[in-house]
């Protein structure tokens, strides 16, 4: 039983990172109905920027988180302006945007490789002190607490932003119906740009958290795994649904860990895609997805 709970703790800390990444994925989809395949590259850039901040410049963790948020947020604005906005202006379909997002990902990864090299990097030891807390036979590390705490704070902040602020309401309005929102005076392009800022900032911080959770794994190519897992998470939770993406991410994280414990690690990646398959067969709209009514 202890082992089960211990693995649950591991699964939740892994899943929370998947979730944070998937939230950014799903938000862009919800607003623009495009799958932004540059999102995994943003995750890698976030982790690498944080590496420079933590290792080379030696700044503290809170400042590193804040700077990474800002840096990848700005990168999101650049991405939108360079890769997506020109297509929107020409009324290109979602498929064209998908292709430019692949192109943007390739460019970002190659640039990152130029700047940081291809070798895996690690944050300086002691970025988060090695400390353990025992709760009824369970060992929880400070690292796991910090990661879970950061994800919870960010997700709650996102929730408040979406429900309580004008910009959040504008994003939801655009997601509901872009044409009507524009007619009602919502500045469409600015709202979309802000969405990219927001999602990229979250993706960048997810990269930082991955870098801390798996020390020594920071490289320009680290986003690949998360791209697939994140995609599975948002389909699992229902495309465009933030709570669904959270739950999807957590389910995949916990599922992977449990498979390693009780079956074999060879089946690890089968979880995400097995779950995905099941959901698509049984409930094609995803766990929390609703049938979209505005398709007519």
């Amino acid at each position: 039983m202890t082992v089960f709970l211990q693995q649950l703790v591991n699964g939740i800390s892994l899943g929370s990172v998947y979730a944070l990444f998937a939230v950014g994925f799903t938000l862009v989809f919800g607003v623009l109905e495009i799958i932004n395949l540059a999102h995994p590259a943003v995750l890698a850039v976030g982790a690498l920027v944080a590496y420079t901040l933590l290792s080379t410049l030696g700044v503290g963790l809170p400042l590193a988180v804040a700077s990474t948020l800002l840096a990848t947020g700005l990168l999101g604005l650049v991405l939108d302006a360079a890769a997506f906005r020109p297509l929107r202006a020409r009324r290109a379909g979602p498929l064209a945007s998908l292709i430019t997002s692949i192109g943007a990902a390739l460019i970002l990864v190659s640039l990152a490789q130029r700047v940081w090299g291809a070798e895996p990097l690690g944050y300086p030891p002691g970025t988060i002190p090695l400390r353990f807390f025992s709760v009824g036979g369970l060992t929880i590390s400070l690292l796991q607490i910090v990661i879970l705490g950061t994800v919870i704070v960010l997700v709650v902040a996102l929730r408040l932003l979406m429900t309580r602020t004008r910009v959040g309401i504008a994003i939801r309005a655009v997601a509901e119906n872009p044409a009507t929102a524009s007619l009602l005076g919502v500045p469409f392009n600015r709202v979309v740009a802000f969405t990219f800022f927001l999602t990229s900032a979250l993706g960048g911080v997810a990269g930082l958290l991955v870098g801390m959770l798996f020390q020594g794994s920071v490289s320009p190519f680290m986003g690949d795994t998360y791209g697939l897992k994140g995609l599975a998470a948002i389909i699992l939770g229902g495309m465009g649904d933030i709570t669904g993406a959270m739950l999807g991410g957590l389910a995949i994280g916990v599922g992977e860990v449990m498979i390693v414990q009780y079956l074999s690690s060879s089946y690890r990646d089968a979880v995400a895609f097995g779950l995905l398959f099941l959901v698509l067969v049984i409930r094609p709209t995803g766990l929390l997805g609703r049938q979209r009514s505005r398709e007519a």
Binding site: V3, N10, G122, P125, G216, T225, E256, V257, S265, S266
Partner: protein, 378 residues
């Protein structure tokens, strides 16, 4: 005016004897080493070890060797290109290298076809000398080192119960795992659990938690350097304090650099430790530190030994560099077989009938205070 003449004159005095030597009596040896990119962590000490050895040998005589260094990078194609250049353009009498076993499998057949002797200094996979009748090595294969690691670790840690973890997506780590499993059985050490992961994985928390759940005395791992480093770090992050026992993939000082304190206590089999009791090692150790201002490692020592072995074969064959190239190559191949009980930084080594290394003593090292030191048994 004088100043203007000085530099050309200096150049002439420097170059002339070298040109003389080349025209007269030097034997060309190709050094195929990857010194750029990822592979540089192995390649740099290997190049240093070879160059140091040839410098000392040339200073002492009687053989005079002209080492030609070419960068193979980390890939197979790079190794093939360098071998082709050495064999056809430079027309070398022997080749040292390449760094990786996977590169050796690709490039060594070219040398076999041309009859050029190759001495590997860092290839530890099974089947390297079997590539062909001109392929030798001085690097002890993993199959020789693991039994020793297991026996010594058992003694030092009083092992009766371990967990085995291995990468099931890579040929070398799988073969390392099989050797480990056999040896553990022979030593009557119980394997409480066998857990796999795959090359490229980043998250090992689930595997490590599962390993910890059965309370082993040590965790035995067959992994490559990247996954090995991540395992060490995450193990310590999860509060695992039992020692790790690693295969040859862990035999890399870079792991200590990346894993930092998490590498403390790691046990690996190795062909060399700083304290190897041989005259050749003392001379090597001091000369290396003086020349490069840093500690040598296993790779530098093996490279030095490989260069010594080639030079010794050239001496015994009586090759001076004036013979037709094919004669030089044949004589060196024949002479390599005669090397027995030869003093190197690795201790006494010899070449077997199967062209593999016969190293009288290999070592088991443990990481203490950020350095590999020999593991003392009680």
């Amino acid at each position: 005016m004088l100043k203007r003449l000085l530099i050309p004159m200096l150049l002439i005095t420097l170059v002339a004897p070298a040109a003389w030597g080349a025209a007269g009596a030097t034997v060309k040896v190709g050094l195929a080493v990857g010194i750029t990119g990822d592979i540089a962590v192995y390649g740099t000490p290997i190049r240093n070890g070879m160059e140091l050895a040839f410098k000392r040998i040339n200073d002492k005589g009687p053989v005079h060797i002209d080492p030609i260094l070419e960068d193979t990078g980390g890939g197979r194609d790079g190794a093939i290109n360098v071998f082709q250049k050495f064999i056809q353009r430079d027309r070398v009498a022997a080749i040292l290298g390449p760094v990786l076993s996977s590169q050796a499998f690709a490039s060594d057949p070219l040398a076999v076809k041309a009859g050029v002797p190759v001495v590997g200094v860092s290839n530890t996979a099974n089947g390297i000398p079997q590539i062909g009748p001109t392929v030798f090595r001085v690097s002890a294969p993993e199959a020789v080192q693991i039994p020793k690691s297991v026996a010594v670790a058992k003694k030092a840690l009083h092992l009766t119960r371990v967990v085995v973890m291995y990468d099931n997506a890579d040929d070398f780590t799988i073969s390392g795992y099989k050797t480990f499993a056999d040896e553990l059985k022979k030593n009557e050490i119980q394997i409480a659990d066998t857990i796999t992961f795959a090359r490229g994985d980043s998250d090992f928390s689930a595997q490590l938690t599962r390993a910890r759940a059965v309370n082993p005395q040590a965790i035995v791992v067959s992994a490559l350097a990247r996954e090995g480093t991540l395992l060490l770090i995450q193990g310590r992050n999860l509060g695992i304090t039992v020692p790790f026992v690693g295969g040859n993939g862990f035999n890399d000082t870079n792991i200590i650099k990346r894993a930092g304190a998490a590498a403390e206590g790691l046990i690996v089999g190795t062909a060399w430790v700083p304290s190897v009791p041989s005259a050749a090692n003392l001379a090597f150790y001091d000369a290396y530190r003086q020349a490069y201002k840093q500690e040598p490692n296993q790779f530098a020592a093996q490279a030095y030994a490989g260069a010594q072995v080639v030079a010794e074969a050239i001496r015994r064959a009586g090759v001076t560099g004036t013979e037709p190239i094919q004669v030089q190559r044949e004589k060196i191949v024949a002479a390599l077989y005669t090397i027995k009980n030869f003093d190197t930084p690795l201790g006494k080594i010899g070449i077997t009938k199967e062209r593999d290394v016969d190293q009288q003593r290999t070592y088991v090292a443990v990481v203490r205070n950020g350095r590999f030191v020999e593991l003392e048994t009680p």
